[in-house]
Symmetry: C2
Subunit: 309 residues, 2 copies
């Protein structure tokens, strides 16, 4: 029997997904539970235990050599703990130890969800072949991860690449993180919608006030909707440019629901990058949409466990 699979866990505020992943990134068996995010620590761990139990019922389980976890952050990979903002029952929860017990002592690797998505895009997606890359998810929040010198750079605690909380307006609006003018405070989906509403945009008869509805309005030429995406693009561009001057990346890969707006976001983003990424070594930077989709977290967690990211 071959020993060539890893088990991957993707832990978010709404669902806990797991899969057996082969050496080519294929998902061979899957399990999923809603995250009991408002319950206590053991209830959430119970859901993790259930998806692992389901996977371990697979005849392929004996081939599993390691477990990779990508979790909503913050995480602390050095301590093996997680404290996801949207799962208040877990604070410094010893997830690596608990998962290790549940899988009979297999090695367990933990990274933040932005780092996991980055590992997937670098292994098999839009950042493949790029030695220095920033990958990001623009959605309800803004997260990310880095590839430096050809290798995933999770940082000592597994949180590196956390571009959503780079401040690009030092006198800007307070961010829930405690800082001011963070990229996420300007460019996340809820903030794109909030800004459009504040500036007078009104939803259609369906009452949809999501960032996707603002994007639809922008596609019809609505100026307020376009301006809200432009502002988000500026903040993202300033954050990407900051990353480029700090660590020299040659590509920024952008995924997540807000990136689904396509050129409504990407066209002003490319324009804004010319404004902020001006140094010779930062000007070569390109922007590409993510390609790994909803399974990026699982594939990336597998890549980390198999050291393929």
């Amino acid at each position: 029997m071959q020993s060539d699979l890893v088990a991957a866990l993707d832990i978010g505020g709404t669902k806990i997904a797991a899969a057996l992943v082969d050496g080519g990134g294929g998902l061979l068996a899957r399990a999923q539970r809603p995250t009991p995010a408002r319950e206590g620590a053991e209830a959430v761990m119970g859901a993790v235990g259930e998806v692992l139990a389901e996977l371990s019922g697979s005849p392929m389980w004996g081939r599993v050599t390691a477990v990779g976890i990508g979790s909503a952050g913050p995480v602390d990979a050095s301590a093996g703990t997680v404290s996801p903002v949207n799962v208040p029952g877990w604070r410094a929860f010893p997830l690596v130890e608990r998962v290790g017990e549940a899988v009979g002592g297999l090695p367990v690797e933990l990274v933040g969800d932005g780092v996991a998505m980055t590992a997937a895009e670098h292994w098999l997606g839009a950042a493949r072949g790029h030695d220095n890359a920033l990958c990001m998810v623009v959605s309800t929040g803004v997260g990310g991860g880095l590839v430096l010198g050809g290798r995933l750079h999770p940082g000592p605690t597994g949180n590196a690449g956390h571009i959503g909380h780079v401040s690009v307006e030092l006198d800007g609006d307070p961010c829930p993180c405690g800082s001011y003018g963070c990229v996420e405070r300007i460019a996340s989906g809820p903030n794109i919608a909030r800004r459009a509403l504040e500036n007078g945009w009104r939803p259609g008869p369906d009452g949809d006030v999501s960032a996707a509805a603002v994007a639809a309005a922008a596609r019809t030429g609505d100026r307020i909707a376009l301006a809200s995406y432009d502002r988000a693009a500026q903040a993202l561009a300033a954050g990407i440019a900051a990353t480029a001057v700090l660590v020299e990346i040659d590509i920024a890969v952008i995924g997540g629901g807000v990136a689904g707006a396509g050129d409504i976001l990407l066209a002003p983003l490319r324009r804004a990058l010319h404004r902020y990424a001006t140094l010779s070594f930062a000007r070569r930077l390109t922007v590409a949409p993510a390609v790994m989709g909803a399974d990026a977290g699982l594939v990336g967690a597998a890549a980390v466990a198999a050291r393929r990211g």
Copy 2:
């Protein structure tokens, strides 16, 4: 005869310095010329040739195994060229090749001056023993470099850590680099002095309008002078915090003439870091003054050549 020395070159807009450096960072022989910064490419290279010729007259020259260069930026280590802003005669000047010819084919390593200073502080200075560090020079400009995972991170072109051109005010004042609201545009010595003068600060009878004179006024309690340093500290803190959330550093080392203001800069900087470095993994960050002084560029260039940074 031992083969244990490297030759180091520190190339700036005002002087070209060189030294033979031993395995402990000791400078055993030195040479220096003013940079003929307003002359043509060959005149500047002539000055480099002179300092190398002077060093090669040393009886120790036969022990030299490699040459390290730290140069004012931008540099392109991948192409072996330099284009220092303050040396207009050098644009994409093939410095690595020309120095290689001058030293009979010894290996030559090139990095930016901020990266060289970082190598020195990591090898023998304030960042020693830190696996993840940002070192910066706050002076006429603002430069820097990174240590990641225990190793110098020059980036593919040798410019990584260029914190002076991180934008922390996306609608801020235009920076000579072409971007807006850069850390350097707010926190460099000339900008500290400019802001104080614009806000009504007046120099003493000696007419000194340098950042050091503003620091002296701040020490006597001058509110405008204090406010100008506070603003510089905020910009530096936002840039340092951005670095911490992007790559996870645990120390920021600050050198250069402006850092000579001591607590006039460092006290508000530490306060501002609490404001901007809020995520759990960024809060552990400390700030320390640089200790390697004026020889940091030479010691760091030697460290790079000897792969000790």
